[in-house]
């Protein structure tokens, strides 16, 4: 990890930040969510690979880094398997608080 790499990575992160903020104001429908998440994933990967030195790490450390995200994907995928198929969309607010 040289100073030059860090500078380039920082620049890339800034460009991606500007890009995602700009794209958020472009109406793309549901694609907006996926675009912003995709860019977020790219930014996170830059930080993980360059700043957190996964590039130079052993495969064991890479697996440990991936495990958390992988299990999180499981959680999101299976819970949303429920929510996207629910036939009751709303629970209305009732009773006083």
């Amino acid at each position: 990890m040289s100073a030059g790499t860090i500078l380039r990575c920082w620049l890339a992160l800034m460009v991606l930040l500007a890009l995602t903020t700009a794209l958020a104001f472009v109406p793309l429908g549901t694609a907006n969510l996926f675009v912003s998440l995709g860019i977020a994933a790219a930014k996170a990967l830059l930080v993980l690979i360059v700043f957190m030195e996964l590039k130079a790490s052993s495969s064991l450390v890479r697996a440990a880094a991936a495990a958390g995200f992988f299990w999180l994907m499981i959680m999101i995928a299976l819970t949303s398997a429920d929510y996207t198929h629910r036939t009751d969309q709303r629970v209305p607010l009732d009773t006083v608080r």
Binding site: I74, L78, T79, A81, D82, H85, R86, V91, L93, R97
Partner: protein, 539 residues
């Protein structure tokens, strides 16, 4: 207590301070033993009162609220302060470094911290239970637990939250230890199965527990601040709580059973004097159970209002997770073939485990079948099923391991006759307690009922009778094991003819475990005509 003659971890240092500030994994294991026995006694006391209450159909032992507090106390204490830490934190702590030829866990101070977190969490929760108790059930379902339940829920939940960090730190410590501290020659396929199972358990501890922590935080926020997250009265969805709760709590079942399976995989080959049948399959089944175990939590929600498609998927995945468990049972059975089988107390407990776990696992198939689950979920069928797994399975495994490693831990032999008697008593007592509950469940007896229709009484009476036998079976070891510390014969280094590294050091082990780092030359469980071939040639 007579001090052992040789220098061991027990007498390397003396004084209370040397115990409370120790970083020796063996001493920390003993600290855990003390804590776990204490909490097991409290949970057991609650169970006794529950069975006493249920002898008659009316509620006659205290008010309904008292009963509701009892079963909540039983569940909370047994799940979080006995079953989850039971085997990993005690025997795991004690034998894993010995088994892999290490001098300690990777992070000894973290290990001590994790004991303090466990005790602190436990005492906070017990305080909440003693101050007046909570009546939510151990599942804390929303919206009951936020706006309808009374009592010290905030305190109790906070205690569980704290104990969760103990789980995480223990799991983390084991993962790093198994990866990085193995002795030369101790390859992955030379690891004893107990190490593999505890490793798989640790994966779950590290990956599932934080979800529980966050879920409990949100529950606390909702109860304290009265702002909607899960409660439908405030716009939330109570099913989201159930999803997040079971994302942790279903894998938590595997946290309880996997280490137990590991113990059985140690005990069976040793007492059969024979290589473990299908070693690779057994170890990969542990990993498979840990992984697939994360994909099945929705089977707790088949009637909860979950979407139909989600239920179908979860049902299918639940059947898949049963396959590796079945394979393990087949492999243990096949290990006996052409062995030299001895029936010492650990082996009797192991037989008990296989029998009860098989019944528990097979009834799991009924629960994974959607329409059967609709009928029997939230009834005594479920109660019986998970007690067969958690008590029949996990606790039998705990006692098997306790008797197996007791000579190593204390350097003393316990009276074999009494130990066998206790094992047999616990097995029959257990079946009499919980088998009638399967029948009750199919008859439609819902769980968490203080009073019930009179036609169910006979099965409850049988169950309570069995519970009294079971209680004796569980109390006996307390006496003869304590006796053995005072008067028991000195144990040799390898009383069972086992092959693992932990048996190549003296009993009790020296403070530094190994004077010279052992060089491992062969896989575990190698026997030549029933004679053990040690994993390392010199210890």
């Amino acid at each position: 207590m007579h001090a052992p003659h040789r220098s061991s971890y027990l007498n390397a240092e003396i004084g209370l301070r040397s115990w409370l500030l120790t970083t020796d994994h063996k001493r920390i294991a003993l600290l855990y033993f003390a804590g776990i026995t204490f909490f097991f006694a409290i949970g057991g006391l609650a169970a006794t009162l529950i069975r006493l209450e249920l002898i008659t159909p009316q509620g006659d032992l205290g008010s309904p609220d008292f009963y509701n507090r009892l079963f909540t106390m039983h569940g909370v204490i047994m799940v979080w302060f006995f079953l989850i830490p039971s085997i990993p934190a005690t025997m795991g702590n004690f034998v894993i470094p010995l088994m892999i030829g290490a001098r300690d866990l990777a992070f000894p101070r973290l290990n001590l911290l994790s004991w303090y977190l466990y005790i602190a969490g436990g005492l906070i929760t017990v305080a909440a239970l003693l101050l007046g108790g909570i009546d939510t059930g151990w599942t804390f379902y929303e919206p009951y637990s936020t706006f309808y339940a009374t009592g010290y829920i905030i305190l109790a939940v906070f205690g569980i939250f704290v104990a969760g960090f103990s789980s995480i730190l223990t799991g983390l410590n084991f993962i790093v230890t198994v990866h990085k501290l193995r002795a030369p020659g101790m390859t992955w396929y030379r690891l004893p199965v107990f190490v593999w199972s505890t490793y798989a358990t640790s994966l779950i501890l590290v990956l599932a527990t934080p979800v529980l922590a966050m879920t409990l935080l949100m529950l606390l926020a909702e109860r304290v601040l009265h702002v909607g997250i899960f409660s439908p009265q405030l716009g939330g969805d109570p099913l989201l709580f159930q999803h997040m709760f079971w994302f942790y709590s279903h894998p938590a079942v595997y946290i309880m059973i996997l280490p137990s399976m590991g113990v059985i995989s140690e005990v069976v080959p040793v007492f059969a004097g024979k290589r473990l049948f299908g070693y690779e399959f057994v170890v990969w089944c542990s990993i498979a159970i840990a992984a697939i175990g994360f994909l099945v939590w929705g089977h707790h929600m088949f009637v909860a209002g979950q979407a139909l498609y989600a239920s179908l998927a979860f049902s299918f995945l639940s059947y898949l997770v049963a396959v590796p468990s079945a394979i393990k049972v087949f492999n243990w059975t096949a290990t006996l073939h052409e062995g030299w089988i001895r029936f010492d107390a650990p082996m009797l407990y192991a037989f008990g485990f296989i029998g009860l776990f098989t019944i528990g696992g097979l009834t799991g198939l009924f629960l994974a079948a959607l329409p059967i689950d609709v009928h029997v979920t939230d009834t005594y069928f479920v109660v019986a099923h998970f007690h067969y797994i958690m008590v029949g399975g996990a606790v039998m495994g705990y006692f098997a391991g306790l008797h197996y490693w007791w000579p190593k831990i204390t350097g003393r032999c316990y009276p074999e006759y009494w130990a066998r008697f206790a094992a047999i008593l616990a097995f029959f007592g257990f079946n009499l307690t919980f088998f009638p509950q399967f029948i009750l469940g199919y008859l439609g007896m819902p769980r968490r009922y203080q009073s019930y229709p009179p036609e169910f009484q006979i099965w409850h009476v049988l169950s309570s009778a069995g519970a009294s036998i079971l209680a004796v079976g569980y109390a006996l070891p307390l006496f003869y094991l304590f006796w053995s510390i005072l008067k028991g014969a000195r144990a040799p280094a390898n009383p069972w003819n086992a092959t693992g590294l932990e048996w190549s050091v003296s009993s009790p082990p020296p403070a530094e475990n190994f004077a010279v780092t052992p060089a491992v030359v062969r896989p575990p469980y190698q026997y030549d005509q029933g004679k053990p071939c040690m994993q390392a040639d010199h210890g």
